[in-house]
Symmetry: C2
Subunit: 226 residues, 2 copies
């Protein structure tokens, strides 16, 4: 990083905030008004000190012996994450994975709304999936400007990811959630988050190999199936 940073919040803490938020919304719905770090930690199998430290990044100040007011804590986290307003996003790549996100309400709950989809397959262009129109990627820059969109979900095959990413940068995107299992080479003024399911699978399988628990030759079990 070449830019001077002024006491930026630790990324691991920021990434845990949605977990807290989900739990807090749950207990608010159940009528709970106050909550302590100890309580949150217990519910989420975390360390209470870590929870407290994470919450401080939002600037909230709790009361000793009491804890935090649930509704205020929710507000403060939402505001810190910018999730108190809906932000528009583009979805690039309307394959199996991309299509899933069009109907995925998790984003909406967390302040992100997919407002248009893009692809290169001519048979998809002009169709509407889950109420969202599919455009050709050529129109990315034009529509980004018109619709004031700066966030993109990238869900194309690995081989097409870099080209699509360059289009997104050219279209003025400020943040990209990359679901393709590739590193994107784009200017670091654009924030990229890689959601890499292959990496998660690697973490699991390598540990199972270590402990020799991975079923060695699965194919042989196939005839047992039906």
């Amino acid at each position: 990083m070449d830019i001077e940073r002024q006491k930026i919040a630790p990324l691991p803490s920021v990434k845990r905030l949605p977990l807290y938020l989900g739990y807090l919304r749950e207990i608010r719905a159940r009528g709970r008004e106050l909550v302590s770090c100890t309580h949150i930690a217990e519910a989420l199998c975390l360390d209470s000190v870590q929870v407290r430290k994470d919450l401080t990044v939002t600037g909230i100040i709790g009361k000793p012996k009491v804890g935090y007011r649930v509704s205020i804590l929710i507000d403060v986290i939402e505001k810190f994450l910018g999730w108190n307003n809906l932000t528009g996003a583009f979805l690039v790549g309307v394959g199996n994975l991309g299509r899933a996100f069009l109907g995925y309400n998790m984003f909406r709950e967390n302040g992100l709304e997919i407002v248009a989809a893009f692809d290169v397959a001519t048979e998809k262009i002009g169709t509407t999936i889950q109420g969202k129109e599919v455009f050709h990627t050529e129109r990315l820059a034009e529509l980004a400007k018109k619709m004031n969109v700066q966030i993109a979900l990238l869900a194309v095959p690995a081989a097409a990811a870099q080209e699509a990413a360059s289009l997104l940068v050219a279209a003025g995107m400020k943040g990209i959630i990359n679901l393709a299992p590739t590193k994107l080479d784009i200017p670091n003024s654009v924030i990229v988050e890689n959601v890499n399911i292959a990496a998660s699978w690697a973490a699991i399988s390598s540990r199972l190999v270590e402990s020799q628990m991975l079923s060695v030759d699965f194919k042989q079990n196939k005839e047992v199936k039906s």
Copy 2:
């Protein structure tokens, strides 16, 4: 961790291996036979020292001035991750997200094959999606035993995640890829990897809020849309 660990490979290194693997397969397909860390690092925008360190977890030994033989490096990584054989997996939750994974070939390329799907919605039970039959979650334990499956992808709504996870543990799963944005409370003999897209979105949006680049009130732009 209460179990004594014997020089386990660093998790961040393990999680980067699939990235290297993807690139190595790509250059092997293009006919390249030898590769150096410098080259890999340049292609993937990483540090060459880090690449070298990551590769050493597989136990491979390179030749100074030469580098590594691409095909051997691929073999060694695949073997380290246990991706040289196909491992069977269950998919739990056939909603939008779950269905996407049924047709997602990324897993297959990386040694994971979904062999059956599970849900609780009666209208889905007995149907076949992408060639995979959907069973009731009641049958998890029975079929896990019969099909010798120990890996599960959990793609149910957050509210249903804990219950489904308990069923999976009871069914003898050894590894769970959790796509629900919740912490699962299960014995630590079962390896869990959380794929948390909300966390990635949090990382992006919080940084955009910091730099005041997040479009403040998106809803007002809606009429511009069509």
